[in-house]
Amino acid sequence: MKGMQELSAIASNLIFLSFLVGIPVYGFFKGVRVYESFVDGAKEGFEVAVRIIPYLVAILVAVGMFRASGALKLITEAIPGVLNALGLSPEVFSLILIRPLSGAASLGLLGEIVATHGPDSYQARLGSVIIGSTETTLYVVAVYFGAVMVTRVRYAIHAGLIADAVGVLAAIAVCRLFFA
């Protein structure tokens, strides 16, 4: 299975490389002045990066404070009854709560679950599937809307969080089916 994983890493790199090399080669044969064209497009990179700074600061500061306050632990300890009914450990529940806010924090929590429950445990597998089926919604919303300076996001977060919730429920259902 080590082989499978290496294979998937090689595949990802090859796909990346085929974009990186394939696009200019295709452009060259279509008569595009590839170097000029690339530089012209790339010019906007800095401008976009600077434009998203205020939005990133707003989100990352709030999430950073939330993580440091210990609120997550408090919430998790307050509702253990629900967790038992769903067959979730407190760590997995924390993972579900932090997932829309921070990708790094949710991977960190998965690392903890792997360390405490074991890499082949039900909890570790469930956590992995949850990470695979959800996204850091708040961060994506901040960056994408920040780039076009949209502040009235209407129902984008609602839709994203509904998708995350369904992803979590589907992950629990599928993991029960396969691993329980």
Partner: protein
């Protein structure tokens, strides 16, 4: 919604910090996060420039146009109001493909580019359009097929079979994407989410 989430995070964290005696840590986290947000954005500049440059070549060579025509039935179903052949269809498609393969380095610049293309169709600047919300719903539902970083963690922990989670993850991520699309479609019809209070015909 963003207003409320942001405020709840700030006020909630401060309140809990006082309660648990973590005030110093929370203040430190706030200042450090502000700094890391800036560093993150700057670090992002290079990769952003790289993909914007490649996108320009792909556009001028007609590659994106060809690709868009190929996938257009699906995109037309998801984004019926975007005119045929609009660049937003191409950049959104590129972003979704990059996301599916887990190329997050490529997906974010392409997604930002897609948002800029969508913004050209926006007649209420500063307010999200239905198409932006649909695109975000698809993005935030995770379309990544293989959860590579989770698998890496399982493998690093000494798992005997780390890739066993791939199939369940694909099933769950399909469910979440369908839910995101349905949610965006349904919510767009709600009165309270109208683009403008005095909205007439949308573009």
């Amino acid at each position: 919604m963003l207003n409320i989430i942001w405020l709840v995070l700030l006020v909630g964290s401060a309140a809990v910090a006082v309660f648990t005696g973590q005030v110093k840590e929370v203040v430190l986290a706030a200042t450090e996060s502000a700094g890391s947000a800036f560093k993150l954005a700057l670090g992002f500049t290079g990769i952003m420039a790289l993909w914007l440059g490649l996108m320009r070549i792909a556009e001028q060579s007609g590659l994106i146009g060809a690709f868009t025509r190929w996938i257009s039935p699906l995109m037309q179903f998801l984004f019926p109001r975007i005119p045929d052949g609009h660049p937003a269809l191409g950049s959104m498609t590129m972003n979704i493909v990059a996301n599916m393969f887990g190329l997050s380095n490529a997906a974010t610049p392409l997604g930002i580019r897609a948002m800029q293309d969508l913004d050209t169709l926006n007649c209420h600047k500063g307010t999200a359009t239905n198409e932006m919300c649909m695109f975000l719903a698809i993005n935030t539902s995770s379309v990544q097929l293989v959860p590579a970083s989770a698998i890496a963690l399982l493998a690093a922990g000494g798992s005997s079979d780390p890739t066993v989670v791939i199939f369940p993850a694909i099933v769950a991520t399909c469910a979440s994407t369908v839910a995101g699309i349905l949610a965006a479609r349904l919510l767009s019809g709600l009165r309270r989410f109208r683009q403008e209070p005095s909205e007439k015909a949308e573009p």
